[in-house]
Each structure stands twice: as structure tokens, then as C-alpha cells.
């Protein structure tokens, strides 16, 4: 969701975005079949670290959340919970068609079709699981977006929080579960 590029960031934010762009830590949420694509991007052939990107253990420390596959309602709850545990500025990159329009599971009762309705996705990568080249290309685009200050899905999430929350409740009835019985 690329906004028109009226660049109203002040200098300080520009520098901040420069740093955020050049050192993106990712928390990849291995749902579905996309997870297997990431190790090759990190290892010697494609070496994601050249772009300043590297894996991090917890959402608290991560900048970008990679959703790599279809999302059942249970997983969606966990994704939303992790997303809210991350600090802003945070970005979301969605892999594959399952996150765009449900992919091959579009008519399944268990999965959600459009990820964008629940959490603000900054960047989609087409492909029924994109190969590492596609992922590297997407990351390069993400870096330029951040530099230009266009990757502000997180601000959009904060501004239309009720809308998102309503969508989430419509499909999940309850996002944060308070006792372990009705999972």
C-alpha cells in the first residue's frame, strides 16, 4: 500500500529511517511452506546479511515480521499477538499468494484469505512460495521504501486501530485469550 510520496519527514526521522533501512532484523513467522525459503537467502549463496538483515530471537528485538504462508485462525491470533509485541517502526512482508488472496486455500473454512484486513502489510512477494531471488529483490525494495519513508504500515495500524480490531474480532471472536479452555 504505497502512499503518495509527500516527504514530510524531518531530518532526524530521515537519519533514523536511514539506520532502520540499513539494519533490518527479521522475525520470520514460519507458517505454511514459505519458511524453507529463508535459510538459503541467509546462507552463502544469497547472503542476506549484506543488506544488513539478520534473524532475531524475539519480536521485541525484531523490525520486520515475515509471514511465510497460509494463516489459520489460531495462527493469526499468535501473529497478531507477536506483531503487537514488536516496537515501531515495524514492517510486515507477506510471502506468497496465500497471504494475498488465500492462494490455493481460498475456500478453506480454516484459513483467512486477505492478510491485509487484519495487519498492515507493507510488502507482498508474489509466488506460490517465492524463491530466494524474489525474496532478495523484495528486501531491496523494502529498504528503498524505508529510506523514502513509505513503509509506514505500522502508523496506519495505529491510526485505524479500531478498524483493524473490528476485522480481527469479526473473524476470530477473541484475539487475546484469557484462559486455556476455548482455544
Amino acid at each position: 500500500m504505497v502512499l503518495e510520496n509527500q516527504d514530510n519527514r524531518n531530518l532526524w526521522e530521515k537519519i533514523g529511517d536511514f539506520f532502520s533501512a540499513n539494519s533490518i532484523w527479521m522475525k520470520w513467522y514460519c507458517t505454511g511452506c514459505g519458511a524453507i525459503e529463508l535459510p538459503p537467502t541467509m546462507t552463502s549463496r544469497f547472503d542476506m546479511e549484506r543488506l544488513g538483515m539478520g534473524p532475531m530471537a524475539t519480536p521485541r528485538q525484531a523490525d520486520v515480521l515475515l509471514i511465510t504462508g497460509y494463516l489459520s485462525s489460531k495462527t493469526l491470533r499468535r501473529v497478531i499477538y507477536s506483531y503487537e509485541q514488536m516496537q515501531d517502526p515495524k514492517y510486515i512482508v507477506a510471502f506468497g499468494s496465500c497471504t494475498i488472496n488465500g492462494g490455493i486455500y481460498y475456500d478453506s473454512y480454516a484459513t483467512i484469505n486477505q492478510l491485509d484486513k487484519y495487519i498492515p502489510v507493507d510488502l507482498y512477494i508474489a509466488g506460490c512460495m517465492p524463491r530466494p531471488e524474489g525474496i532478495m529483490n523484495a528486501f531491496a525494495d523494502l529498504i528503498t521504501m524505508i529510506k523514502k519513508g513509505q513503509a509506514n504500515g505500522w502508523r496506519h495500524y495505529q491510526e485505524n486501530y479500531e478498524w483493524y480490531k473490528q476485522n480481527q474480532l469479526d473473524s476470530l471472536k477473541e484475539v487475546i485469550i484469557h484462559d486455556e479452555f476455548h482455544e
Partner: protein, 607 residues
């Protein structure tokens, strides 16, 4: 204001406290605070008449700087702990007796530190022993006060043997001159040395005799265990001091073979001290009850004090003496804070506690400063004394003692941090949501002790100057103090400058922290749990068997207590054998024994 008037006023005050607490026990408890305060004031008044000696029927006293120093350490612990008495007195079964024994044991310790002859030393020692036995019984277990009495009795009886032996050899009971007669017979000197120092070892809680420490401190009434571990352990240090100065161990054993430059008997005792450091640390790490953990830490710190004092040179001796006051302050504060937590929550078991910082922030900070000093970390007093001891050991090249000392000081980070994170930090269980902070009366001693620990840490020379006088009085080279720095043959320490630079660093970090964006406050339950939803805080609190891998390494070490139980079972068997052999309801057996005795004696006589 002579020492005798001090003791007599204290005795009358103790009697008044007893009568008061018969009327109303809370009033009596408050009066114990007044009495211990009066002791401090009086001790300061008689500070200038050092060197005079007094006598009261068969008690004789001599005012010495070392005695003054020891009693000052003791009285500070008693005074600060007395503040807790009013809140626990209702739980005591004999409140009046508790108040009386609390003060009588204080008077006993002061009498002991100023004793001039053996009998006064022994009488004051025993009064402290039996009064504290009857106080410990008011705690959770009778067995622990029984074991406490037996171990102290072993120590004191053996020391009485040494005293009488020396009296017979030298003809005089005066401590300072009696031992000099021993330089003649080396064998007798050895016997006297090992028997005399035994009481010290049993009181400090050195390795074979440390059995009573965790039991007594763990189960004594909450207001008496700070006194037990902070104060009464120091009586043993005084005996160690006597065995080095009055007994002049270094001259008497000058010609015995030396290990690593130290006369053999002294080295054996120091090795025992080193073992007790290791045992104390290893056992402290395993404990689940906070009070038992602190008790084992007293065993470990007792080892430091013993090694420091027995080295009897310019550096390590000063370190040992300084460690006396820094350990006393630190362990007294730690025990008081744990007592306050127990007062509010009713338990000292770490696995049942957690997150106290949210309800008792003041107690938390006081405990933090206490454990920083107990672990020997720079800005606090514990560091300066441990630094002196380690420099002393390095100066004389005592490798094995130093190894134990290092293990002890680094191990202390582990066992000191365990209560901090298990009791104070981590998740707060819902049932403790309503507990309140310690009330004002309890906070006063905590503030006093914290300020004292800080002062000893940042301005150690105030205390070291007194220790230098002690060294002069004991006739060894005194420690060199230049302004605020301690100059030692292989190192220099300026505790104030360390504190200032630490503050400077802290300031820079604070500035960076404030410059950056304000962080969003989040509840404790909103933590990273691999996206699992959690509901019960107490299950999320990590506190039981905190150091599981390390505990697996040191599987159950040999419990020394079994040794004592084996001996007592052996005595019971002999007793049972004697009983069944000699006294039975049939006369024939006794007549049989009469004939046997007659036959044996007849043969004996004839030969």
C-alpha cells in the same frame, strides 16, 4: 564512666526490661531498642579510657581497642535488629524471657570482648551460649537449638580444658601473660593451640562445626537470626584474634615446619577456613529457604574472617577485621529484609515468593545494597575487605587459600543473586497483591545499615584507622592509609575515586537513556512466551532450583550432620548396653558382677 558502671547500668536496664515486658511485652520490646542505643552511647563515652583495667568480684576486665571495635560491631547489629522486636514479640511464647535474654546475651558479648582473665572470658561466653539457646528454641525448631548448644558446648568445654591447662602451666589466669609460659614446651603449646581455638571455630561455624549454623539461623525467631549471623559469629573471630595475639602463635610455632611460609598448625586452621568457604558457597547455592541460604553465606564469610585474622600481617589482618564489620552489616541487613518479607508474607521459602519489588520497593533497594556488599562488589564495604584479603594472600603466595577465596567470592555472586531474583524480582503472585511495604519502625534500621555499608564502602579509612590502632596494639605493622587511599605493598585502592567514577559512568548512561524516546510501560505478564497465551503469574515465576545445572554438578554433598548423629547414636548404644548389663530386675546379675569385680581386683592386687 568506667566499664564497670557501663555493665551494671546495662544489667539494671535488662532487669527493668524484663519487668516491663511482664507488664506489657510490646513496651518491653521497645525498651530493648532504648537499651541497645544506650550501650552505643556508653561505648563511645568510654572510648577514650582505653588501656585501663577494672575488676568486679572474680570478673576482671581490660579496655582494649580491639575489644571496643568488636563490641561496636556487635552493638550496631543488636541495635538495628532491636527495631524488629516489637513486631515479633507477640509471636513469642515467652516474650519477657526473650527481651531479657536478648539483652543479657548483648551484655555477655561485651563482657567477653573486654575480658582480661580466662574465667571472665569463659563465663561471659557461656552466658551468651545458654541465653541464645533459649532464644532459638522460641523459633521453629527445638532440634536446631539443641544442636546449637551441643556444638557450642563442644567448643567451650575444649577451650576450658585449654584454659585450665595454661593456668596450671603458667600459674596465672590473665590472658595476656598466661600463654607466654608455653614457649618452653612445644607439644603442650600444640595441644593448647588446637583446643583453645576450637571454641572460635565452633562459633564462627568453620567446616566441621558449621552444622548448627543453617539449622539455628534458619529456624531461629526472625528477629534473632540477624543477631546470630551478624553478631554472635564474631565472638569466634575474637577467640581467633586471641589465639594469634595473646597466644602469639607465630612466635610459639616459629620453629615448627612451615607450609607455604605459615607455621603448620596455623595453616591447618586456615585450610579449614578455606574448606568452609567452599562448603558454605556450594551449600548456599543449593538452598531454597532464604534464611538457610544466608546462614551458609555466613559460614563462607566466616572462613574469610578466620583466614584474614590468622594471617596476622599488615594487609590480610586488616582485611579480616574490616570484613568483620562489612559482613556484620551486610548479613544483618539481608536477614532483616528477609524477616520483613516473612512478616508480610509469612514464608521465607523462595519458591513460594516472587515479585516483592512491586509491593516493597524500599526493602528491595536495601536488600540490593546489602547483597552488593556481601558479594564484594566495588562501591560497597564488602569489596574493600575482600580486596585487602586477596591482596594479602597474593602478597604471601598462598595459592590454595586464594583459590578457595576466589571460588567463594565469585560463588557469592550466584547465591547472593538467587534471593534477589526469586524473592524480589520476577512475577508477583496474585495472593501477595495486597501486602504493604514495611512500616516506618522497620525501615529505620534498614536505612541506618545501608548508610553504614555505603560509608564503609566509600570511606573505608574511617574504620581502617581504628584497625590500624588495633594492629599497633597487637604489635604488627599497621596498614598504610594516605588520605583516602589504602596503600598496600602490591597495590593501591582509592574507594572514593572508584565510587565517583562509577557515578560518572552512571551519569553518562542516564543521559543517553533520557535522550532517547520514553519507553511504553507494559505489564509483567505481557512478555515474550513464543506467542503462547499465559494466565497464571506464579507458574511463570522462575525461582525453584534456580541453579539446577550447578546443583547437578555438586550432587548431594556428604551431610556433616550425619557425623554428629552417628556419634550420638553410638553413645546411646553404649548407654543401652550399660543399662541392660548392669541394672536388671534380677539380683543374680548384680551378685555375679560383685564376684567378677572381687576376682579382678584380687588378681590386680596380687600381681
Amino acid at each position: 564512666m568506667t566499664l564497670i558502671t557501663v555493665l551494671i547500668t546495662l544489667l539494671t536496664l535488662a532487669a527493668v526490661t524484663y519487668l516491663l515486658s511482664l507488664v506489657n511485652s510490646k513496651l518491653g520490646a521497645y525498651f530493648t531498642i532504648v537499651t541497645s542505643l544506650a550501650t552505643i552511647v556508653m561505648l563511645f563515652l568510654i572510648k577514650d579510657s582505653i588501656g585501663q583495667s577494672y575488676s568486679l568480684s572474680f570478673f576482671t576486665f581490660k579496655l582494649t581497642t580491639v575489644g571496643w571495635y568488636f563490641s561496636m560491631v556487635m552493638v550496631t547489629v543488636y541495635f538495628t535488629t532491636a527495631f524488629l522486636n516489637p513486631f515479633w514479640i507477640k509471636k513469642m511464647i515467652y516474650p519477657a524471657a526473650y527481651n531479657l535474654f536478648f539483652l543479657v546475651s548483648l551484655i555477655g558479648t561485651i563482657g567477653m570482648f573486654f575480658a582480661r582473665d580466662f574465667i571472665t572470658l569463659f563465663i561471659c561466653w557461656e552466658t551468651v551460649v545458654w541465653t541464645s539457646t533459649f532464644i532459638i528454641q522460641m523459633g521453629k525448631s527445638r532440634k536446631s537449638s539443641y544442636v546449637y548448644y551441643v556444638v557450642s558446648a563442644i567448643g567451650s568445654m575444649v577451650t576450658l580444658f585449654a584454659m585450665m591447662l595454661v593456668y596450671q602451666v603458667s600459674g596465672t589466669l590473665e590472658i595476656s601473660t598466661a600463654f607466654s609460659a608455653l614457649s618452653g614446651q612445644p607439644v603442650l603449646a600444640l595441644i593448647v593451640f588446637f583446643t583453645f581455638i576450637l571454641a572460635g571455630l565452633s562459633k564462627i561455624g568453620i567446616f566441621p562445626f558449621h552444622v548448627w549454623l543453617p539449622m539455628a539461623h534458619g529456624s531461629a525467631p526472625h528477629t534473632f537470626s540477624p543477631v546470630l549471623s551478624g553478631g554472635l559469629v564474631k565472638m569466634g573471630a575474637f577467640i581467633a584474634y586471641l589465639s594469634v595475639t595473646a597466644f602469639a602463635a607465630y612466635e610459639v610455632f616459629a620453629n615448627t615446619f612451615t607450609i607455604m611460609g605459615i607455621p603448620a598448625p596455623l595453616y591447618i586452621i586456615m585450610v579449614l577456613g578455606a574448606i568452609s568457604i567452599v562448603v558454605g558457597t556450594v551449600m548456599a547455592i543449593r538452598q531454597d529457604d532464604a534464611k538457610k541460604l544466608l546462614a551458609y553465606s555466613s559460614v563462607a564469610n566466616g572462613g574469610y574472617i578466620l583466614i584474614g585474622i590468622l594471617l596476622y600481617d599488615q594487609i590480610a589482618f586488616a582485611g579480616g577485621m574490616l570484613h568483620l564489620i562489612s559482613h556484620a552489616l551486610a548479613s544483618a541487613t539481608a536477614f532483616i529484609t528477609i524477616a520483613i518479607v516473612a512478616y508480610r508474607t509469612g514464608t521465607t521459602k523462595m519458591s513460594e515468593l516472587g515479585g516483592m519489588i512491586h509491593r516493597m520497593p524500599v526493602t528491595y533497594t536495601v536488600y540490593l545494597i546489602a547483597i552488593i556488599s556481601m558479594a564484594g562488589i566495588p562501591p560497597m564495604g564488602g569489596f574493600v575487605s575482600k580486596w585487602l584479603i586477596l591482596q594479602g594472600l597474593a602478597d604471601r603466595g598462598l595459592l590454595f587459600l586464594a583459590a578457595a577465596a576466589f571460588f567463594g567470592s565469585i560463588g557469592s555472586f550466584m547465591y547472593v543473586f538467587r534471593p534477589l531474583s526469586a524473592v524480589f524480582l520476577g512475577q508477583l503472585a496474585p495472593k501477595y497483591e495486597k501486602i504493604k511495604e514495611a512500616n516506618i519502625m522497620m525501615q529505620i534500621p534498614m536505612y541506618l545499615l545501608t548508610i553504614a555499608t555505603l560509608l564503609v564502602g566509600v570511606f573505608p579509612n574511617v574504620v581502617l584507622r581504628v584497625i590500624a590502632d588495633i594492629q599497633l596494639e597487637a604489635g604488627i605493622q599497621e596498614i598504610v592509609l594516605v588520605g583516602n587511599t589504602i596503600v598496600v605493598s602490591n597495590g593501591v585502592l582509592d574507594a572514593l575515586r572508584v565510587f565517583i567514577v562509577f557515578g560518572y559512568g552512571f551519569l553518562i548512561a542516564l543521559v543517553i537513556f533520557i535522550l532517547r524516546r520514553k519507553s511504553r510501560r507494559v505489564t509483567l505478564m505481557d512478555t515474550y512466551t513464543s506467542a503462547e497465551f499465559i494466565h497464571t503469574p506464579e507458574l511463570l515465576h522462575y525461582s525453584s532450583n534456580f541453579y539446577a545445572p550447578f546443583e547437578r554438578l555438586t550432587k548431594k554433598p556428604y551431610p556433616v550432620l550425619n557425623l554428629y548423629e552417628k556419634v550420638s547414636i553410638k553413645i546411646k548404644e553404649i548407654g543401652h548396653m550399660a543399662e541392660s548389663l548392669f541394672s536388671s530386675s534380677k539380683p543374680a546379675i548384680t551378685i555375679f558382677w560383685i564376684i567378677i569385680v572381687f576376682a579382678i581386683f584380687f588378681l590386680g592386687g596380687v600381681l
